[in-house]
Symmetry: none
Subunit: 211 residues, 2 copies
DNA sequence: AAAGCTTGTTCTCTATTTGTTCTTATTATA
DNA sequence: TATAATAAGAACAAATAGAGAACAAGCTTT
């Protein structure tokens, strides 16, 4: 009965989001919430991906039930986390098309005090290899201190062209902003300062080696 | 008995209101009071929501009794008493000359659940560049699951020659143990298996960029 | 005890949200 | 070039949400 259903990259990404969400919140997310969390705009396409997760046996079929997405292996779904104040918002994958604030309070993550500042911080998950020369890899988490300014050489999360959020090294001159990847095989990108909105600066990084 | 009853956004909001109310007041709120508290105008609609909470097993059925809304005791107790300890021992710099146990319980560190396993874990701080090709840098923290065995290719913390603890990739043959640094400019080291005591395997990594 | 009020409950009607299905277009990948 | 993966959006039905009317049972006041 069980065919072999390898996950595509996107399906794996969505599954990770679901696992993560279940660790933080007791109720399942809505399709729209997942869209926002992953930077998608169409519930329709997302639904198709989730159908694949059902076929792969990772997600139980949810018959029109709202918030009906359940993982088949209900790992930590019961582990409610209402612990102290050392949690900070997890804003999902580095998200396209949205200033980060819009999805605050979706879920929260526990953080060692050593990895954050006294100011407001949040967590993003990194996609891509643009920072490997700094030891930040695909799927790592980064802790960002919320801020709208930075000094040259800082690693920042920025909204570029009102379109996508990236993690880069910043160099600013009066009439030009340069975003430099920490990856020798990638080129710095030049922007009009008006098209680069700084969202915060890098203060910490985490990586899981589990499975 | 228990079907799956995910809470909708409104139901969750109402349940939160009830939990909150119970922490401050001994008697249950009236439907109208909840309406006022949540900005609703119809007791009728509210009642329907509470019916769902009853079906979900979070609220006891109250047959026409005024101020009869009670939370089911089991859920209430778990909601309060979920103080799982998410801290693990910090054993300091990767330490020379000592098996790791001796300095346990010096201090503890808060860890996100995503970075540890269910088993016993502890934190070490890395010195040196022997793992930079895996993105583990000088002064990073690593989370180690306590264990005395590993399979080939695992990244392990090991006590070598009863002298120092290092973080390396392990390759074991019946009569030889090879510890391989993840650093192209360093050479693998060969040992008699008796001189290598595995202390644990790598499950997580953290880095602070503050100052 | 009777009148007046509040409360829980049930019902109908309407508006919004959500899951689902389709169609179409674009990008990767073999 | 062909095939799969990804994405956006339109359209639809079911689930959910809100308002209000109506009613019986419990309180309060007279």
């Amino acid at each position: 009965m069980s065919d072999y259903h390898p996950l595509t990259r996107k399906q794996h990404e969505i599954y990770q989001f679901l696992v993560n969400h279940y660790q933080q919140s007791e109720s399942a997310p809505t399709l729209s919430e997942i869209c926002i969390g992953l930077g998608l705009k169409s519930r329709g396409s997302l639904h198709k991906h989730i159908q694949h997760l059902v076929e792969a046996g990772l997600v139980e079929p949810s018959n029109r039930q709202q918030r009906g997405i359940r993982l088949t292996t209900p790992k930590l779904s019961t582990a409610i986390d209402l612990s102290t104040d050392e949690t900070i918002p997890y804003l999902g994958k580095i998200a396209a098309g949205q200033p980060l604030e819009v999805m605050a309070n979706f879920s929260r993550i526990t953080i060692p005090t050593q990895l954050k500042t006294k100011n407001e911080c949040y967590v993003l998950q990194v996609t891509g290899d643009s920072m490997i020369d700094l030891g930040i890899y695909d799927n790592d988490w980064v802790i960002i201190e919320k801020r709208n300014y930075a000094k040259n050489g800082d690693v920042i999360a920025a909204l570029v062209n009102n379109d996508e959020v990236t993690l880069k090294i910043i160099e600013q001159t009066p009439n030009k902003t340069i975003l430099i990847p920490a990856n020798k095989s990638m080129q710095p990108m030049h922007f009009d300062p008006n098209n680069v909105q700084i969202q915060g600066i890098l203060v910490g990084q985490m990586r899981s080696y589990i499975h």
